[in-house]
């Protein structure tokens, strides 16, 4: 029986697809079934995997979701368009401002609203700072998943706090920004904010160097990540992998470059790509992305123009977009975050759908883990970088 290739014609019998081949274990051997989670220190929340083990090798892995299913979509269909904005903060709670942007962009598309230039700059600055927060905490959690408890996480959170201070003085809350509005941003930058932000951005390369010297050539990190969980490019595309994990497999697809939404075409930055698609690439690509992010932040903080931050014509309360639908997406730190809205011309969305990158990136988790050791499952899961608020919504 020839397994059909991933890009070939659709297989009529799903049992023949390569993923449902069991990875060549001795069928007489006793399999050990382990349930990892939902309460587990390294599952980043309440994620659960049912794993079947042959010795230490993973032969089956079925993720179980829903332990944090908070019915975001159902609630959003019952509140006004504006009322859903604070809920988007709580999707991926590391990156509330990117979520805000994606949702605002979808409503702007749905209702045809423009955004003033200063607001576009603020959106770029805040969501790139969000990317720094996310990748920094990712490194901390990733390393503590590998057993380096404390140190790296402690350093990462120290840097994160600096950016959270910026967010707090801008949006009023450390994590839940609820900052962007349809047609702009809720309020202008407070006085002195730009200088403070510049200071943080200028201090960041030193921190990245420090982290990199801790991680990049660390023997334990290398032996636990290189050649572990390899993901070929064609499989990643077919499995709808997005974000850093996709680019670590060498696929050049960054929505900031492809869609050129907002004002991203004004900045010069490169899209880092990986060669091997293994855990090490997925880990190191975050470093490179952070350095590129700094390349966006510096000119953005320098060139930000004066002006209004809200489109004066844009309505927030009682917004009734014309009948129709819209799908808008942004490059969130974890991948493609999209919002799909259907309007029936009332003040509530008829259908509100979040395209969660964290959930869809997990589609290939089983493929990555098959044949690896049980201890590597945590590393592979760590490098995919999920947040349960977004996986289960």
């Amino acid at each position: 029986m020839n397994p059909p290739s991933e890009t070939g014609s659709p297989s009529p019998n799903p049992a023949e697809s390569p993923r449902y081949r069991t990875a060549g274990y001795d069928s007489d051997a006793q399999l050990l079934e382990v349930s990892l989670g939902p309460q587990h220190p390294s599952t980043h929340g309440v994620f659960r995997m049912n794993v079947a083990l042959d010795g230490e090798d993973v032969v089956k892995l079925k993720p179980v979701f829903g332990y944090l299913h908070r019915n975001h979509e159902q609630i959003a269909e019952q509140v006004s368009y504006l009322g859903s904005m604070p809920y988007t903060d709580r999707l991926d709670y590391f990156c509330s401002l990117s979520n805000n942007w994606a949702y605002a962009a979808a409503v702007e598309k749905l209702a045809g609203i423009d955004v003033p230039e200063r607001a576009e700059y603020i959106r770029v600055i805040t969501s790139e700072l969000t990317r720094l927060v996310n990748h920094t905490s990712f490194l901390g959690f990733m390393l503590s998943d590998m057993g380096a408890w404390g140190t790296v996480l402690m350093y990462a959170f120290r840097e994160r706090e600096k950016i959270l201070d910026l967010f707090e003085s801008l949006t009023g809350s450390r994590m839940m920004g609820n900052y962007m509005r349809f047609g702009g941003c809720r309020c202008d930058l407070p006085p002195g904010w730009l200088e403070q932000a510049r200071k943080v951005v200028d201090g960041y390369p030193a921190f990245l160097d420090e982290m990199e010297s801790l991680i990049a050539t660390n023997e334990i990190v290398i032996s636990r990540t290189q050649r572990i969980g390899r993901l070929p490019a064609d499989k990643a595309v077919n499995g709808s992998m997005t974000g850093p994990c996709l680019r670590a497999s060498g696929v050049n697809y960054d929505i900031r470059k492809v869609d050129r939404y907002g004002i991203y075409d004004r900045f010069e930055f490169r899209v880092p790509l990986g060669d091997h698609g293994d855990c090490y690439d997925r880990l190191m690509i975050r470093f490179l992305e952070m350095r590129e992010t700094l390349k966006i932040l510096r000119p953005a903080l320098r060139d930000i123009p004066e002006g209004p931050v809200m489109d004066p014509k844009a309505r927030q309360r009682n917004l009734r977009p014309p009948e129709g639908e819209a799908y808008a997406r942004v490059e969130a730190p974890k991948g493609e975050l999209g919002f799909y809205l259907i309007s029936d011309a009332s003040d509530k969305p008829y259908r509100y759908r979040v395209r969660p990158p964290s959930l869809i990136n997990l589609t290939l988790l089983e493929d990555l883990c098959l044949g690896e050791k049980i201890a590597d499952v945590m590393v592979i899961l760590g490098t995919i970088d999920i947040v349960l608020g977004e996986v289960d919504r």
Binding site: G83, T151, D165, S169, G172, M176, N178, P190
Partner: protein, 172 residues
């Protein structure tokens, strides 16, 4: 190791490396925009001076629906522009500030109080009108710039109203 040692030594030598905040002895200095739960602003008198006119816009717009308002009525049963009951269930409130944004009278603002944990989950977490009413001076003390701007807007409104009234008097 080297990096750990460097950070360890820096925590003794460099003041900016001393990042631990000595709460509760030393309270954090919150930025002006910081928000936690809403409160109601009154001018001068905590009862009559309440800016809230019980228009119920915030009640309607609150995404988790945690505000409950009953309008005051006078002896004849006619509605008065005052809330009789104004309850906010802070065990539901998500500090989103939408009530503040939609209020046309600048009557509801965000407080910065956060030491609210309690042993009882029911009564202490429902803030009633008495608990919510705070003076304009208090508002100035936590959001100085914003409060000054609001005062200016309100003064302008009052002046315009007075002007309109004068004009109407002159006409008649």
């Amino acid at each position: 190791m080297g990096i750990t040692a460097k950070n360890f030594i820096a925590s003794y030598t460099k003041p900016e490396s001393l990042i631990t905040e000595e709460y509760p002895e030393e309270k954090p200095k919150l930025p002006e925009n910081n928000r936690n739960f809403p409160f109601l602003v009154f001018d001068d008198d905590p009862d009559a001076g309440l800016r809230c006119v019980s228009c119920k816009i915030c009640e309607r717009e609150c995404p988790p629906q945690c505000i409950y308002i009953v309008q005051e009525r006078d002896e004849n049963g006619r509605p008065v522009k005052q809330p009789k009951v104004f309850d906010i269930d802070i065990s539901v409130c998500m500090s989103c500030q939408i009530c503040v944004e939609v209020c046309p009278f600048d009557a509801i603002k965000m407080d910065q109080e956060y030491e609210l944990s309690s042993l009882d989950r029911f009564d202490p977490l429902i803030h009633d009108r008495q608990r919510l009413s705070k003076s304009n001076e208090y508002y100035h003390s936590i959001h100085p710039a914003e409060a000054a701007a609001v005062d200016a807007v309100l003064a302008e409104k009052a002046a315009r109203k007075a002007g309109n009234k004068k004009a109407a008097d002159n006409e008649s």
